[in-house]
Symmetry: C2
Subunit: 126 residues, 2 copies
DNA sequence: CAGTATCCTACACGATACTG
DNA sequence: CAGTATCGTGTAGGATACTG
């Protein structure tokens, strides 16, 4: 019902479990959540405001995925109104530093990328 | 026609152009293409077989995007049958090393991630 | 060989409403 | 406050056929 006709034998991420983790930490909101938590711990709504533009659904999903992977620690206090704090585990801190490092590398090289694009686009607009 | 109602003021990647580049290099096929080209240059079909499971469409698209960003050099020889070689630029080599470094970090920590997942899943199956 | 063009589907994601 | 449940849509990406 879903594989339809089975394209290749090993395809799909099934071939490489780490591919999924890579996707989790480099996902649109994953990067930003890790970056935010690298600074300090946050509560849910606080994190939502800080990251900016993320829907409740996606933030919850991202946090759950990262928690399950062992990157984020969820600390729920049994008070009313509820209070839940999110922070990085040691593993998560390392992950955050890695992706943040990559993100910063991209930013540092952004000028060269822009120039490459300009050249590329111009070459076919002529 | 596409923004519908405008959710947030700065949202969408428009706020951060480097976010797009990050997506290009960490994309499903982007990572694998960069990793392959880190070894040596490849021809189109050769690369397709090496990466494994990628459709012609996606490989072409990935290569074009990476070329436009200045990471991949496309060398087309005017012979018959056509011969096109793809290789990394210096910028692309750096990018490849960065993402490959991240990918390897994930692999190194994969056991810890698996254990975290096991613990997480067990805690709610009980 | 090295692609492009077309069609089609699954799912990622956002919006909204609701709950403990 | 901190989420879940549900619905609707855009688009990433696969299959296939065709071209220079």
């Amino acid at each position: 019902m879903s594989v339809s006709k089975m394209s290749a034998p090993d395809v799909n991420q099934s071939m490489c479990p780490s591919r999924l983790v890579l996707e989790h930490v480099t996902s649109r909101w994953g990067v930003l959540v890790l970056a935010a938590l690298l600074e300090r711990s946050y509560r849910f709504s606080e994190l939502r405001r800080t990251v900016g533009g993320v829907s409740e659904k996606m933030l919850a999903q991202t946090l759950r995925t990262l928690e399950r992977d062992g990157f984020v620690r969820r600390d729920a206090q049994a008070v009313i109104p509820p209070r839940v704090d999110y922070s990085l585990t040691e593993l998560g801190r390392e992950a955050g530093e890695q992706v943040w490092g990559l993100a910063r590398w991209v930013e540092r090289r952004m000028d060269e990328v822009s120039e490459a694009r300009r050249a590329y686009d111009e070459a076919r607009t002529s």
